[in-house]
């Protein structure tokens, strides 16, 4: 009985602690949004962060997009040609990228490339008292450090996802048309006919925007909340990657369920 109680108590403790942290993080998000005046008025602060988070993530996003598209080309052709519809390869590649893989894979890559960097940077600034110093200079670290990084992530994410998808389509084209020899006209025209702007592209953009908010929020919060030690910062960085990956996949399921129209 007492062992049972112990387990229950531990579960309760874990749950309340998680909930408490979630509440704390939500309040932090609210503060970040409220203190966004500086980041938006002095937009060069945000642009600088867009360079560090967005532009420097370009290489990994473009290369990965290309590979994912090429794999889709190979696998898709393999399946489609069994049903004699290998010209539909363009549709398959484009739809899977725009609706699913583009937003999700780009967000996962973004979380591990840029999210972890944001967390580590803010955590180290805290550990070396830079945030305290800023407070003592009557400058709010949330307005000056957190908000620009948050908005930079939110702005970069949809663009990165779009570039990922574009590179993926290019990869699929190279493999399907140039390598395997699917008819080029059919590849592009079927794709154009099947991909709907609102239902496919916009929904993909909405997804990547939501993922952008999630990843940036988790990254800045974990950094700001890190223990001000080397160990604390490294833990926070790990937590950013793990939590945001899970959050992306869970949010993807929820969003897809809402966007699903049946047949």
């Amino acid at each position: 009985m007492s062992r049972m109680q112990q387990i229950l108590r531990q579960i309760g403790h874990q749950v309340t602690e998680r909930l408490w942290r979630l509440g704390f993080a939500s309040r932090f998000l609210l503060m970040t949004v409220l203190y966004s005046g500086t980041a938006l008025k002095r937009f060069h602060l945000t642009i600088r962060e867009i360079y560090f988070t967005g532009v420097l993530s370009l290489i990994i996003i473009l290369v990965s997009g290309m590979f994912v598209g090429m794999v889709l080309g190979l696998q898709g052709y393999d399946t489609l040609q069994r049903y004699g519809s290998s010209e539909a390869l363009g549709v398959l590649v484009a739809l899977s990228l725009v609706r699913e893989l583009g937003p999700v894979v780009a967000a996962l890559l973004f979380a591990s490339r840029a999210g972890s960097a944001i967390t580590a940077e803010i955590g180290l600034m805290k550990a070396t008292e830079q945030l305290s110093a800023m407070e003592m200079m009557a400058v709010s670290p949330i307005a000056r450090v957190v908000a620009p990084r948050f908005w930079a992530g939110v702005i970069s994410m949809p663009m990165l996802a779009a570039l990922f998808s574009a590179m993926g389509v290019l990869g699929g084209y190279l493999v399907g048309v140039k390598l395997i020899g699917v008819d080029e006209g059919a590849f592009w025209s079927q794709m154009q006919a099947a991909v709907d702007f609102r239902q496919d592209i916009m929904n993909g953009v909405i997804k990547s925007f939501v993922f952008g908010v999630l990843v940036s929020w988790i990254a800045v919060f974990e950094g700001y909340d890190a223990d001000p030690t080397a160990e604390g910062v490294s833990r926070a960085t790990t937590r950013t990657v793990v939590t945001s990956s899970l959050a992306i996949l869970a949010a993807d399921f929820v969003l897809t369920a809402f966007m699903f129209r049946g047949i």
Binding site: M125, T128, S132, A133, M136, M137, A138, V139
Partner: protein
Amino acid sequence: MRDIFLPALLPLIATSAPADPLVQIRDLNFAYDSRSILSGINITIPRGKVVAIMGPSGCGKTTTLRLIGGQLRPTSGEVRVAGQVVHECDDDGLYLLRRRMGMLFQFGALFTDMSVYDNVAFQMREHTNLPEELIHDLVLMKLHAVGLRGAYKLMPAELSGGMARRVALARAIALDPMLIMYDEPFAGLDPISLSIIGELIRTLNDALGASSIVVTHDVHESLKIVDYIYFVSEGKIVAEGTAEEIKESQAPYVHQFVWGEADGPVPFQYPARPYGEEMMEQPSKPRRWWS
């Protein structure tokens, strides 16, 4: 008539008179969790004076500065700066107050993603609308005062410890504050920079009409420049006086500190149980990776 009006007027007179001290700490107590750090501290910083707070490592000097800056809340008692109780200010009030304070952090706390120049220019850009040309002149002036005008292009990672501290000093005085707090300004400086910085603290204070608090271990340098000294030990004020009084003082705390003697009332050890008792005990197990 007089009886009715005088009490109502008194607070006004008291806060607006220029002679009232800039910083007044009354019966200040502070504890981290349950460990008491400061107990019953009373410190007065008159306007225009340089006051030193001295004491052994870990006695709560940095904590005192953080309480003055409003980064920590006292457990009881109060800190008044320019007539305002710091822990009762709301966020905006606190930020207004801090705009007129400069603080040199013990470990510099320079912004590592900005150059030396941008570090010093930071507050000017955040709080003023000065044109860049003017900021340029001001920044170079502040850096010249600490002897680092030539280093304005460097990044903090390219500075030595003492240089970083001097840049931090230039940054602390960037907006000509009314209250300047120096946490260990002399640590890590060679004898020449040390006396130049000491002079600088004094000159700045007098030129700006500011008041300064210098937290330091360096008795001899600070005796040269400060007006008044507080000795803190184990979270209490154990002695105070003007530089002359301190030099003459025969009080055991002061004597021990000024002459750097190992034996005396100031403890070198962090509070602990008797040595023998601790030695007899089994060592606590090292933490394993799976725990």
